[in-house]
Symmetry: D2
Subunit: 107 residues, 4 copies
């Protein structure tokens, strides 16, 4: 069973798809991203990751809701990532963006 | 090449790992989640997903930064998802949570 | 005592300004905004505001951290609001933006 | 004219209150908080505040949407802040929380 199927099994066993419209899924992804970020509030990066169990859980929650939205929209996760990487590859030519943290609009 | 390798190739070709501390990656996941959410601002779920190309791109960005954090911490993405699903499965017994949108602390 | 003084008294009595760098204050504003948004997750607007006590608390937290950042930067809150309203007034001419939820870049 | 009136004039001149349900206002506060946070992405606090004009604008946007929500709910902003400060004052006794960044649940 692949990971999308495992996620769907959990929500379908509970009949949760009725609540999972994409707007509330987008809210949920944002909320879980904030719970992950909260682990770094008032802290250095090193202090944040010291709490590795919580980082794993909150990062997993971001993935789970993101997979749910992808499934709702019949999107192949690897494919949308590859398309975005391809776009980034063009927007950030190695010659201009190596060692730079500028946005492509500033390059 | 699996998807983590493709993501890493993009950032390593540009020598970007120097910027990718986990605190700023957590900030970045949160910012991308907001860009996804912005597509639903003042809109219904249906109006939001009508802009499917942008939804795909912003959702892909959430995945990309989330994979980068997982890679930084040597985490297996499927494994952390499975562990969280297993925890959710216990916190939300089907008998109590079917058709309910309550949090487990309220069940 | 005006409201900025009351907020500063709380943090100065606890000697908290040492932690309140602007990057972490920006993180904190974002986290509190998410806690406010969480009250509307999976809910209609009406269902969310029914929990008025929690809405008041989380909205107050957004204000408190926003005031703290303004104070750190010696900004007059009313003045920065007025400057932004003036900019919005120009970007959104009444003739074009009345009854429209479009962004000024789309007008 | 006080600041709430100035904010309301801008939105009422454009008849925007029809879009301003509290759920979308909460989304908007969160999105503006992210735009503020974005000014600190991959940066130190000092590097972020160097862009003071943008910080002022994004912070002002957080305040503007927060005031709009307060007005929608007939809340007095100073009063909800004072009530929350009073609660924080009790949750964080000076004797325990001075020089500490722990949450009250950890004190």
């Amino acid at each position: 069973m692949d990971i999308m199927d495992e996620i769907n099994k959990l929500r379908d066993d509970r009949n949760w798809r009725q609540f999972h419209n994409e707007k509330d899924l987008a809210i949920s992804i944002s909320l879980e991203a904030s719970e992950l970020l909260e682990l770094f509030q008032w802290k250095s990066s090193e202090e944040g990751i010291a709490n590795l169990e919580r980082v794993k859980e909150e990062l997993a929650d971001v993935f789970i809701y993101s997979y749910m939205m992808a499934d709702n929209l019949n999107l192949n996760v690897d494919k949308i990532i590859q398309e975005k990487l391809s776009k980034n590859d063009k927007n950030y030519p190695v010659s201009k963006s190596k060692n730079s943290k500028k946005k492509y609009t500033e390059l």
